[in-house]
């Protein structure tokens, strides 16, 4: 029963800057960006050229929503791929180290 309720591996808190940590962060950013995008916040980015996003919401709220959207957009297109690539690099590096260590362990055991 306890095993049934166990969280899936991907949602378990990973060690800081481990490959899994990077993938979790990438997934979180992507999810948040998707939500902001679906909420229609892209419309507020007109603030970039000095145009108000919504006459109803006014300057301050429009600017705030624009800044939030732009930050998550940049994180999605720049940071997320970097995090995913870094996770792949770490996983590959780990596999290389393991491959390098394994033959030594095997030869140690034989001797």
């Amino acid at each position: 029963m306890k095993a049934f309720w166990k969280k899936p591996a991907i949602s378990q808190r990973a060690e800081f800057l481990s490959a899994r940590d990077m993938l979790q962060r990438a997934a979180a950013i992507s999810m948040l960006f998707l939500l902001l995008h679906l909420a229609g916040l892209r419309e507020f980015t007109g603030i970039l050229n000095g145009t108000i996003g919504s006459l109803t919401l006014g300057w301050n709220l429009s600017a705030f929503l624009a800044v939030i959207y732009i930050m998550f957009y940049l994180a999605f297109v720049i940071l997320v791929p970097i995090l995913v690539l870094a996770a792949v690099i770490l996983a590959m590096g780990r596999r290389c180290v393991q491959n390098a260590e394994n033959p030594r362990i095997t030869s140690d055991a034989n001797s």
Binding site: E15, F16, L17, S18, D21, M22, R42, E43, F44, T45, G46, L48, N49, G50, T51, I52, G53, S54, L55, Y73, V77, I78, P81, I82, L83, V84, L85, A86, A87, I89, L90, G93
Partner: protein, 396 residues
């Protein structure tokens, strides 16, 4: 503790390597062939989609009102310039796509008629920024070359595509009034705002005069020649060789060269003095244009004459010193002078950072506004109108 430190160092190193791989590749995801933005013949897919959005604005009054009001909160000029750029774009589109000419002409007439009605009903200050009322125009009665030049070019563009007899006296009247004021001005410098003259407005007005000559057989070559000689002598920044953007009626510079002005100025000059136009574009490209990691953009000011951000430059993005206004207008320069590398990189930037919204075959850039998108549409379609005037082909 040692294992944790080792993991963090490995993680940071992986992030650095990943960044070094990803950042130079990023532009590949936003780059498209130049032909998607601008084509030598016919209309590019981008032009069609941008035009579809603008045509929708002119068939749905409520939508148009919302868009225009959003711009007018910041700058009433944008409402006016959005109309001008759209009319000039539609003129080029009508020449590129004769099958759709009736629709384009109808929309042009609708925009021109409404603009003239508003100017007559509300007065010239309706399309100007509030500071126009702060002091008295030096030359009386007060006129703004900004309005007169762009309206004249709208009327002339319409007539170059296809003659409309009702617009002939309106163009003649507007052009004669501009010429008369040039003749009264000892230095050939006309105001757009009180004691404030703009290079952009002079070039557009002279284009309209040139077009009127083409249409109606008048001859203002001497005026154009004298004005160009004066501008080369008095209105060029000696360090960059670029035309300055604003000056007083006695020629005292107000602003130095500006990206939000010079790209369109260079394009306007193509109709007046092709060699000077190319020289200005090449200098602007060198002083203001930049491409980083495959993304093109433009600065607002050359290093020789820095300025302060204003409504024309738009917000300046630090570090790279990117001006939204100058980068948007750079499309016009790159397209007019067929600088494909720059145009392609600018298009990559606008797809990356302009937040395009494509729905039902219509395109708008959310980070832009109606006037910004209309200027992009103009960049995607310009060419045939100037060519028709240069080759002297009269409308039927």
């Amino acid at each position: 503790m040692k294992a944790r430190l080792k993991r963090i160092v490995a993680g940071l190193a992986a992030l650095v390597v990943a960044a070094l791989i990803w950042l130079p590749c990023l532009h590949f995801f936003f780059s498209r062939p130049v032909s998607e933005f601008r084509q030598e013949l016919g209309l590019s897919p981008e032009a069609r989609q941008l035009a579809a959005r603008h045509l929708q604005l002119w068939t749905e009054p409520a939508l148009r009102e919302t868009e225009l009001n959003k711009m007018r909160v910041s700058n009433a000029e944008w409402d006016f310039m959005g109309r001008s750029y759209l009319v000039w774009s539609l003129a080029n589109m009508a020449l590129r796509d004769p099958a759709s000419k009736p629709l384009y002409l109808r929309t042009m007439d609708q925009i021109i008629d409404e603009t003239l009605r508003l100017e007559k009903q509300e007065g010239m200050y309706f399309f100007l920024m509030p500071y126009a009322k702060d002091s008295r125009y030096v030359m009386q009665p007060a006129h703004s070359l900004f309005l007169d030049g762009e309206i004249a070019l709208m009327l002339a563009s319409r007539r170059v595509v296809e003659e409309k007899p009702e617009y002939k006296p309106l163009l003649t009247e507007r052009v004669n009034a501009i010429v008369e004021r040039f003749q009264k001005s000892p230095r050939l410098m006309l105001e757009s705002y009180p004691d404030q003259c703009w290079m952009f407005d002079h070039c557009v007005a002279l284009d309209a005069i040139k077009m009127a000559d083409h249409l109606d057989g008048t001859d203002h070559e001497f005026l154009i020649r004298d004005w160009l000689a004066m501008a080369k002598r008095r209105l060029v920044d000696p360090k960059s060789g670029l035309l300055i953007s604003s000056f007083e009626t006695d020629g005292t510079p107000l602003d130095g060269p500006e990206g939000s002005s010079i790209w369109m100025v260079a394009h306007s000059l193509q109709l007046l003095d092709a060699d000077f136009a190319r020289d200005q574009f090449q200098r602007a490209r060198k002083e203001l244009g930049a491409i980083t990691l495959g993304f093109g953009y433009a600065h607002e000011w050359p290093k020789s004459w820095p300025g302060m951000p204003d409504v024309d430059s738009g917000p300046i993005i630090p570090v790279f010193d990117i001006s939204a206004g100058s980068s948007g207008m750079a499309f016009i320069g790159a397209s007019a002078f067929q600088d494909e590398e720059f145009l392609k990189s600018l298009a990559a930037t606008v797809d990356f950072a302009g937040f395009p919204n494509r729905t039902h075959g219509r395109l708008k850039y959310c980070a832009s506004n109606q006037v910004g998108d209309a200027a992009l549409l103009y960049a995607a379609t310009l060419g045939p109108l100037w060519k028709k005037v240069e080759t002297g082909t009269k409308p039927r």
